[in-house]
């Protein structure tokens, strides 16, 4: 059985990754699971300058899901280099993918310029769901023209794999995916969180400070599967699927929908062992169904 996933010219040992923002920089969960068994770790978003993040409350629970508005809280690229890279250097086998965020094109490319020489950085996931200052507050990821340009700019700076992370909060996610492909991305990942809101009816106030935030967890799985299906039919670079994956059955659903790899997000909070269990389950399913490699999943659904 071949579990490897090729993106650009690089190989991930297996298709199971941990989603940005739900796994820190690996350290915390390193006490609980063997990180070297993971295919990949997507870091918390890194921005040029440190960001303190949004005021609290930042989290709330919803019917079989949760909403967050952490707000890209991070120590900035310098803090990343000083405080996080030493630990990342110690992780064996697993691809460390840095999630990059910004409010202008410049902010994205600066991060990449500053860390591209770090060996333990395997590649980049570009979070284009951030509000874009030049785009009237709408996310970068909602405008195919801007997405294509941003992808091209990033492509110029690095030879490492570039994965564009798509937001589901658009009219047609496939046009944005196409823009990524044209811009020179090596893969896309989808989906980021779905815009949602909760109100505390006792306090008569929004449950989180930012009022609206990002919905994740099992509730959004069907949205993610639909996105992966539609996008993977449209473009020919690999699609990395995520959104509500709680167990191996969910992961298999994403592979059948067209994903070449997957990420575990919210499920890490519920059961830190999820990525390992998912990997085991995928192997069993592949054995039982005589599938040799991940791309074998892609022949079943037109």
């Amino acid at each position: 059985m071949d579990l490897s996933v090729k993106i650009r010219d690089k190989i991930m040992q297996n298709p199971v990754g941990t989603a940005s923002g739900t796994f820190g920089f690996g350290e915390e969960y390193g006490e609980l699971i063997d990180l070297s068994q993971l295919g990949s770790i997507y870091t918390k978003a890194v921005t040029v300058l440190p960001r303190e993040g949004n005021p609290l409350p930042r989290l709330t629970e919803t019917p079989y899901g949760m909403i967050n508005s952490i707000g890209l809280a991070n120590t900035g690229v310098k803090g990343f280099l000083e405080n996080k890279v030493p630990f990342l250097n110690t992780i064996k086998n697993c691809a460390v993918i840095v999630n990059v965020a910004g409010s202008t094109e410049d902010e994205y490319t600066k991060v990449i310029d500053m860390i591209d020489s770090v060996d333990s950085v395997w590649g980049y996931e570009i979070n284009i769901s951030c509000p874009n200052v030049k785009c009237g507050g709408l996310a970068f990821g909602t405008d195919p023209v801007q997405v294509e340009r941003l992808t091209k700019e990033i492509r110029k700076r690095t030879n490492k794999p570039v994965i564009m992370k798509l937001t589901p909060n658009v009219t047609d996610i496939t046009t944005v995916a196409t823009a990524c492909e044209i811009g020179g991305a090596d893969a896309v990942s989808c989906i980021n969180t779905v815009m949602g809101m909760k109100i505390d009816i006792n306090k008569k106030k929004p449950a989180i400070y930012q009022k609206t935030g990002g919905l994740s967890g099992p509730a959004i799985k069907p949205v993610g599967v639909a996105a992966v299906y539609r996008v993977s039919k449209k473009i020919s670079i690999p699609v990395i699927g995520l959104g509500g994956i709680m167990n191996w059955e969910d992961a298999v659903e994403y592979f059948l929908a067209g994903a070449s790899a997957i990420q575990i997000g919210t499920a890490n909070f519920i059961d830190p062992n999820t990525p390992i269990d998912v990997l085991d389950g995928i192997k069993r399913y592949m054995t039982n169904n005589k599938l040799e490699k991940i791309s074998d999943f892609h022949s079943f659904i037109e």
């Binding site: 609980l32 993040g53 005021p55 409350p57 989290l59 967050n68 952490i70 967890g217 519920i270 062992n273």
Partner: protein
């Protein structure tokens, strides 16, 4: 910290709405007073729920929880046959006080302060444990052994002092207040009152904070509180839950 399935030893109603859940805890990670764990709810509520350790001895640990919503109501039907997924011990716990400890517990803060009281008593620190509640029905029968001085304050005066914990301390223990250290856990409004008391008497005050949590291991930055540090927000789960009350920006 470790995640494991633990066997329920007992799960009993100990006061109105309050249960004590005792479970097997065989692990090399020994919980300290002030540390907490998360329990995975069955079925519907998605996120794990945080609870402070209320005791730990001989491979047995416990929490005291109040039934407030779906998850805690679900936990209340756990019985000996069940096992439950526990992640812990989490967070930092209380620092050993340099002066005589006055432990203040309000509501769901009872569990961790009991644990702390017993631990401090064993260390010969002569803790005073002040327990505040609406009325006596919310206060369980306590078997704390010697070495802990227990003071009870109820809003309606149905047991002990009539009034809240800070009023109680100021009225009845004024002499001690100048030369003690406060450690407290309970509703935000009580913690704030304790902090103000500490400022007034110029004493140290450790507060155990609560915030909504997702990961509870420091990875998601969801559970932050505002602090006076340069790095404005600190994580309750990892940097806390216990903070020096002067670190917190009280609102």
């Amino acid at each position: 910290m470790i995640q494991k399935q633990c066997k329920v030893i007992s799960n009993k109603l100990i006061a109105k709405d309050y249960y004590e859940l005792v479970f097997n805890w065989e692990s090399s990670f020994n919980p300290k007073p002030g540390q907490f764990l998360t329990l995975r709810p069955q079925g519907l509520p998605l996120l794990r729920r945080p609870f402070a350790f209320s005791s730990f001895k001989d491979n047995r640990a416990a929490i005291i929880y109040k039934t407030v919503g779906k998850a805690t109501k679900g936990f209340s039907s756990l019985t000996e046959k069940d096992s439950i997924s526990i992640l812990g011990p989490l967070g930092s716990g209380f620092d050993l006080p340099k002066k005589r400890p006055v432990l203040i517990a309000g509501g769901i803060g009872l569990g961790p302060m009991l644990f702390t009281a017993i631990d401090f008593a064993e260390r010969g620190l002569s803790p005073i444990l002040v327990i505040g509640a609406r009325d006596k029905s919310f206060i369980p029968k306590l078997e704390l052994g010697k070495g802990v001085e227990v003071v009870i304050a109820t809003d309606d005066g149905s047991l002990g002092f009539k009034g809240n914990v800070t009023q109680c301390l100021k009225t009845e223990y004024n002499n001690i207040l100048n030369n003690c250290e406060i450690l407290c856990c309970g509703p935000h409004i009580m913690l704030k009152a304790c902090h103000e008391l500490a400022l007034e008497y110029d004493i140290e005050c450790q507060v155990s904070m609560e915030e909504m949590m997702a990961c509870a291991v420091g990875a998601c930055y969801g559970c932050v509180v505002e602090t006076t540090h340069q790095e404005k927000y600190k994580r309750v789960c990892k940097d806390g839950p216990v903070f020096n009350s002067r670190e917190i920006v009280w609102i």
